[in-house]
C-alpha cells in the first residue's frame, strides 16, 4: 500500500528511529504522510500553531465536534480555540486513538510498577523535542496516537489493545495552517501498542 502515490512533490522524507522524537513545520496546504514501516507502531503526536504555539491540538475539541472518539479519514483536527489545524485526508488503518494520552515514566510506574520508572517514554521525547521550540511541560496537553487502538467497552473499560496496523500502512494529514508537528515514536514495551517491539517510522512531507 506504500505504492499509493503522494499528492504533490516530496519536500521532506525522513525515517525516525525506533523510540526517537521528531519535529517539523508542515506549512498550510502541505501534507504529512506517516508510514508504519514495521507494523503495530504507535506514533504519538502533538500539534502547535507555528505562529502562536499557545494554540495547539485539542483532543477534546476534536472529538466533541465530530461526535466520535476515534480519528478516521475526514477527521478535522481542531485546536484549543476550535480552529481547524489539519484534516486526515487518507489512512490505510481504520482508525486512530486520541483519548489514550502519551506514556510517561510516571504513568508507567502506576500501571505496571515502579520498576518501569527507568524506561524511556513518550513524554520524555515530547519534552525533549518541544524544548527545542521553546515549549515546556505546560504546553504538553492532549495528543494523537496514530496507529493505536484504544476501544471503550460498554461499561467504560478502556484498554490499549493489539494494534490494527501492519507493515507499510500509513496515515496522511493536510495542514490548514502552518503547523509544528512534534512526534514521539513510542518506546512503550509494557503493552501491545507497539507489538512489544518499537520500530522506525517514515515521515514524508509533500506539497
Amino acid at each position: 500500500m506504500t505504492a499509493t502515490p503522494f499528492s504533490g512533490e516530496v519536500l521532506h522524507d525522513e525515517v525516525v528511529d525506533a523510540r526517537a522524537p521528531w519535529s517539523h513545520v508542515v506549512r498550510s496546504g502541505q501534507s504529512l504522510r506517516i508510514v508504519d514501516l514495521g507494523g503495530n507502531q504507535a506514533v504519538d503526536c502533538v500539534l502547535f500553531v507555528a505562529d502562536d504555539p499557545t494554540e495547539r491540538y485539542s483532543a477534546p475539541d476534536t472529538i466533541a465536534a465530530q461526535g466520535n472518539a476515534f480519528l478516521t479519514v475526514g477527521s478535522v483536527l481542531l485546536s484549543t480555540e476550535g480552529r481547524p489545524m489539519m484534516t486526515v485526508t487518507g489512512s490505510t488503518v481504520e482508525r486512530h486513538d486520541t483519548i489514550g494520552g502519551a506514556c510517561s515514566k510516571e504513568s508507567n510506574a502506576l500501571r505496571y510498577g515502579f520498576h518501569t520508572m527507568a524506561q524511556h517514554a513518550c513524554v520524555e521525547n515530547f519534552l525533549h523535542e518541544m524544548a527545542r521550540h521553546g515549549l515546556d511541560a505546560r504546553d504538553l496537553q492532549s495528543n494523537i496516537n496514530w496507529f493505536m487502538n484504544v476501544p471503550v467497552d460498554p461499561d467504560g473499560t478502556l484498554g490499549i489493545v493489539d494494534g490494527i496496523s501492519a507493515p507499510g500502512l500509513w496515515v496522511e494529514v493536510r495542514a490548514a495552517v502552518d503547523v509544528l508537528v512534534v512526534v514521539s515514536n513510542c518506546p512503550q514495551v509494557n503493552n501491545p501498542c507497539n507489538g512489544f517491539d518499537p520500530t522506525p517510522v517514515r515521515m514524508v512531507v509533500t506539497g
Binding site: P60, I63, T80, L110, V123, R138, G156
Partner: protein
C-alpha cells in the same frame, strides 16, 4: 448596595454559610458560593479539604480543572486519569490523577453518576456557531475563556488551560466510537472531592459541548468546601487496585518531603 443578597454570589465570610452537608461545622467552611449558570469561579484548597459541587437546579455543568497549588506545572491529566484506572467514566471511587503519577483528588461521593472526561469544554468559536455569540461579555460565555480568566487571576495563564472534566453532564462511547450525550436535568445531584494535594480549583459552569439545545441552558452551581484530612492510611480506597495503591504511595512520598 452593600449587604445586598442575590441568588448567585459567594458567602462572605464562609463560616456564615447555611444548609451545609451533615456533620460540617460552619467554622470549617473554606468556600461557599453559588456560581451562576454561565459563570466561573476559582479557589485554592489545602490538602485534605473536601469540595462539594451541587447541581441545584438540574442544568449545571461544571467544567473543572485542577492544578497543584504548590507546583508550577503539575495538573490534572484526563488521559492518564482514564488510562491508569482502565475506566473512561468517572464516578464514586475514581481518582483524578496528575500527569506525573500522583493523586490530585478522589471522588468520595457522587449522586449524579453522569460525568465526562473526554469532551472538554466549549470555545468562543463553538458557541458562536451554536448560539450566535460566545465571548465572555455576551449572554453565552464559553468554558475555555472562563477557565483562562480563572487561571490568569490565579497567576497562571491561558496556555495552562488543559483538558478538563465535566461534572453533571455525561458522555458515553459507543463501540464505533460515537459519543452519546446524557443531559436530562437531575436537580440536587452532588459530587464531593477530597483534595489529596494542595489544589488550585478552576471551574466554568457552562453548557456541555455536546448539549445540542439551541438555547444557552445553564443553571446555578453550588460550591462548598471545608477543612478535612487526606485519605487515612487505612482508607480502603487506597488499596482498591494496584494502580490506585501505587498512585497513593507516590503521593504520600511527595507530600512527606
Amino acid at each position: 448596595m452593600a449587604g445586598t443578597q442575590v441568588d448567585t454570589m459567594p458567602t462572605v465570610p464562609p463560616a456564615t454559610a447555611t444548609d451545609l452537608p451533615p456533620g460540617v461545622e460552619p467554622t470549617d467552611v473554606l468556600w461557599d458560593e453559588v456560581v451562576a449558570g454561565g459563570g466561573y469561579s476559582w479557589g485554592v484548597l489545602p490538602r485534605g479539604a473536601r469540595l462539594r459541587l451541587t447541581d441545584t437546579h438540574g442544568d449545571a455543568c461544571a467544567a473543572l480543572l485542577l492544578h497543584r497549588a504548590d507546583h508550577p506545572t503539575e495538573r490534572l491529566n484526563v488521559a492518564d486519569t482514564v488510562k491508569v484506572q482502565w475506566q473512561a467514566y468517572l464516578g464514586e471511587g475514581a481518582l483524578l490523577l496528575s500527569g506525573v503519577g500522583r493523586v490530585l483528588a478522589a471522588v468520595v461521593e457522587d449522586t449524579s453518576g453522569r460525568h465526562d472526561a473526554l469532551c472538554g469544554t466549549t470555545t468562543a468559536r463553538a458557541n458562536e456557531a451554536r448560539y450566535g455569540e460566545g465571548a465572555p461579555h455576551t449572554a453565552c460565555p464559553n468554558g475555555r475563556d472562563h477557565l483562562a480568566l480563572a487561571l490568569t487571576k490565579a497567576g497562571r495563564s491561558r496556555r495552562e488551560v488543559a483538558p478538563n472534566i465535566n461534572l453533571f453532564k455525561g458522555v458515553t462511547v459507543e463501540p464505533d466510537g460515537a459519543l452519546t450525550f446524557a443531559g436530562e436535568p437531575r436537580p440536587g445531584a452532588h459530587v464531593e472531592l477530597r483534595a489529596e494535594m494542595p489544589l488550585l480549583v478552576s471551574m466554568a459552569n457552562v453548557p456541555h459541548p455536546l448539549d445540542r439545545r439551541t438555547a444557552y441552558t445553564a443553571t446555578a452551581l453550588r460550591v462548598t468546601a471545608w477543612r478535612g484530612d487526606p485519605a487515612a492510611i487505612d482508607d480502603p480506597a487506597r488499596t482498591a487496585t494496584p494502580e490506585v495503591e501505587r498512585a497513593y504511595a507516590a503521593t504520600d512520598m511527595e507530600m512527606s518531603r
